[in-house]
Symmetry: C2
Subunit: 213 residues, 2 copies
Amino acid sequence: MSKGRETRERILAIAEESVLAKGFGATSIEEIISEAGLTKSGFFYHFRDKNELARAMLERYVTANDKVFAELFGRGCELSDDPLQAFLIGLKLLAETLADLPNGHPGCLIASVCYQERLFDREVREITARSVNAWNLFFQVRLEEIAQCHPPAEPVDIAHLAQMMSCITDGGIIMSKVLRDPGILPQQVLLFRSYVKLLFAGTPAVRPALLAG
Amino acid sequence: MSKGRETRERILAIAEESVLAKGFGATSIEEIISEAGLTKSGFFYHFRDKNELARAMLERYVTANDKVFAELFGRGCELSDDPLQAFLIGLKLLAETLADLPNGHPGCLIASVCYQERLFDREVREITARSVNAWNLFFQVRLEEIAQCHPPAEPVDIAHLAQMMSCITDGGIIMSKVLRDPGILPQQVLLFRSYVKLLFAGTPAVRPALLAG
DNA sequence: CATCAACTGTACCCACGGTAGGGTTTTGGA
DNA sequence: TCCAAAACCCTACCGTGGGTACAGTTGATG
């Protein structure tokens, strides 16, 4: 990584931590640069203004998150051919990963931005919506595949169920922070897992082959 | 209501709307007073500083929320003697109430504070933790009562299940805001309801009388 | 008529976002 | 080794807005 990108990355990491703890509006550029060890001019060399910083932070955050999801649920697929089992494994791996975070989950930038939306321009808000939709779709395709071979115990809208994953995650992060108990988030992921299990694993599996053929 | 309390209430209402939309750090006192129609001195007559404003806002918000929960789930108890049915009715009423909000749920102050925690003093953070614990307990006692006469289909920690309600709610609010779809929050409440149903309504009910001896 | 709550008015300090523009060092390639 | 571009630093400045300080005013109430 070139020196420029290194500094940029350092700024983004510091800014993310501060924004998650204090909110975007209360995160001062001066604080960021003093921690990053550079001057105001140095900062504005990398980012035109605070909104561009927000955009870059979000993109960094979303990319990192996408990668984690892809890895954990990809691993689930490696470990089982049944889409339901693969998904359940992915959820368990996610819960374990979250439980292993030393200081708990640092917070969700999307949620942080959402509670300060009037501070940002249209583009930033569109990034948040697009990212959440991408995550929802990620879970939706998996859940639809599951529903095809495991009839749900109750009629349920798969799109809403996919959204539930995002809701549980963001809600769990908030509860963990408010109650200062990092364990809540992984527990909630496991509860979602239990719901998925009750919905799809309670009924006898329909072999995909029968559907396909 | 005396004139003083009226002004105070007006300030709190305006501040809440602004804080939920822009965050606490970005909510300017000047904006509040210009909308409330009073001067800076008038504002500081009512609140020593911004932190005291935050405390008052939270207390107001929590009280209002407590009342709504008590009403809806109290109505559920009126409509059914079975604790499970009463709870399911309460959840449905809650979902309907949320769906009827003209512009969707305005946001959760607890979540807003949580993402700006470093801006607040210890007392404010303790209010948030205490309130959330109270809500969790509210749901926990109901769920424990349910579990006593309806054995759960899967082993589940009732305290975690109670927390799930708070997670779903706060997560649903965030998703509704980010995706600009007010319908998501009530849908998620109904999904939680579906989970509770699958957990407790799938197994034959045990008559409380048998347990009581 | 006195008192107190509920303000207004004025003046000020400082932090912070952001601008402007010239100067300096570091780095990578010809 | 040299040169140009990248990656900064330095200084000075402006406007907004949170927050302080404190004296003065108004209106209801006993």
